[in-house]
């Protein structure tokens, strides 16, 4: 292994780890004001919205690919399927679509 690459990887690891660790360590046993608590409790659902859109519609040059994946995942999830089933269902639908 080349040492400059290894050092770069270690530095990348550090700057990735620090933001992951700091809030958990600094706010350990700290009770934030209610407004901030409320905002932080909203974060997961907002994050999911931002992680899905627009990304899912851009995974393939053929836009229908993403739309089909989104719709099949949404329907499976709406019907109450387990997350793993949702994942497999949309992969299956797109595999079938790719075969046509």
């Amino acid at each position: 292994m080349r040492s400059e690459i290894v050092w770069m990887i270690v530095a990348m690891g550090l700057v990735t780890y620090i933001p992951r660790m700091l809030p958990l360590a600094v706010f350990h046993r700290v009770k934030l004001p209610p407004f901030f608590q409320g905002v932080l409790k909203n974060v997961p659902y907002a994050t999911l919205g931002a992680l899905i859109v627009p990304g899912i519609f851009l995974i393939h040059e053929d836009r229908l690919f993403g739309v089909l994946g989104f719709v099949s995942a949404f329907i499976a999830a709406w019907l109450g399927a387990n997350v793993i089933v949702v994942v497999l269902a949309s992969v299956l639908v797109l595999s079938l679509y790719a075969m046509i």
């Binding site: 933001p19 999911l48 999830a77 997350v83």
Partner: protein, 240 residues
């Protein structure tokens, strides 16, 4: 007492590991592609695997390869990684709100495994999360990421294109699968996800904000706005 405690721990670990299965599947195509790309970029097998072991962050590992192939210096690559991954700060702060009071070293240890995906799964879980749950969740996700990076390096060119394409939807489908149950229960969730989706699309596609920042901006704007207005309507005594 001791055995009851151990049983609780091992069941949390198992619960976390089960929740990690969809992430492990979703990481497969991305890690395979990363490994293969690392090979074409000129990294050795061990350098590629080491990057997955130490960094464990998909998007920034891809960008690092891209910048390496352009001949960019290490400092700029590290800086880009930092900017891209600062979004985990927000996720870690949010996760801390539902984390049980485990020993600080355990929290510092599982903090390493916070990614967009492990965060999404842990944060939408019912109730609180403890260290054992996080260790189970991360064990599967991290394992899949590291192992598939190596496999991708060795046999990446042999993975059929069709399969790679249809599997690229897996993580997005997982996010949808995590969001929809809450969407059905709370109207607030529709606003949060919808607004963040719109803000993120505008930041990325209109203002060309870097991806890591676009997520932070969209998430914060939506979370603060919804919190502000839901508090206002509570004060006015509106029924939800």
């Amino acid at each position: 007492m001791e055995t009851v405690l151990t049983a609780k721990k091992s069941s949390s670990f198992r619960q976390g590991a089960q929740a990690g299965v969809s992430i492990a599947i979703g990481y497969m195509p991305i890690a395979l592609a990363f490994g293969f790309l690392a090979k074409t970029t000129g990294l050795s097998l061990w350098e590629a695997v080491l990057m997955s072991v130490i960094v464990f962050a998909g998007a920034s590992q891809y960008i690092a390869l891209n910048l390496l192939s352009l001949g960019t210096g290490a400092f700029e690559i590290v800086l880009t990684t930092f900017i891209l991954n600062i979004r985990h700060f927000l996720m870690s702060a949010s996760l801390n709100e539902k984390a049980e009071l485990d020993a600080l070293w355990k929290k510092a240890l599982y903090a390493f495994g916070i990614t967009d995906e492990t965060f999404s799964v842990a944060a939408t879980k019912e109730g609180t999360v403890n260290a054992s749950y996080m260790f189970g969740l991360i064990a599967l996700s991290y394992g899949s990421w590291v192992v598939n990076s190596g496999i991708g390096y060795l046999v990446g060119s042999k993975v059929p294109e069709n399969l790679k394409e249809s599997m690229s939807v897996a993580l997005y489908a997982m996010f949808v699968g995590l969001l929809v149950p809450s969407l059905k229960k709370q109207r607030k969730v529709i606003w949060l996800a919808g607004l963040a989706a719109i803000f993120n699309s505008i930041s990325l596609l209109v203002f060309h904000v870097p991806k890591g920042w676009a997520i932070v901006i969209a998430t914060l704007l939506a979370s603060v706005a919804v919190q502000y207005f839901s508090r206002e309507s509570e004060e006015n005594g509106d029924a939800q």
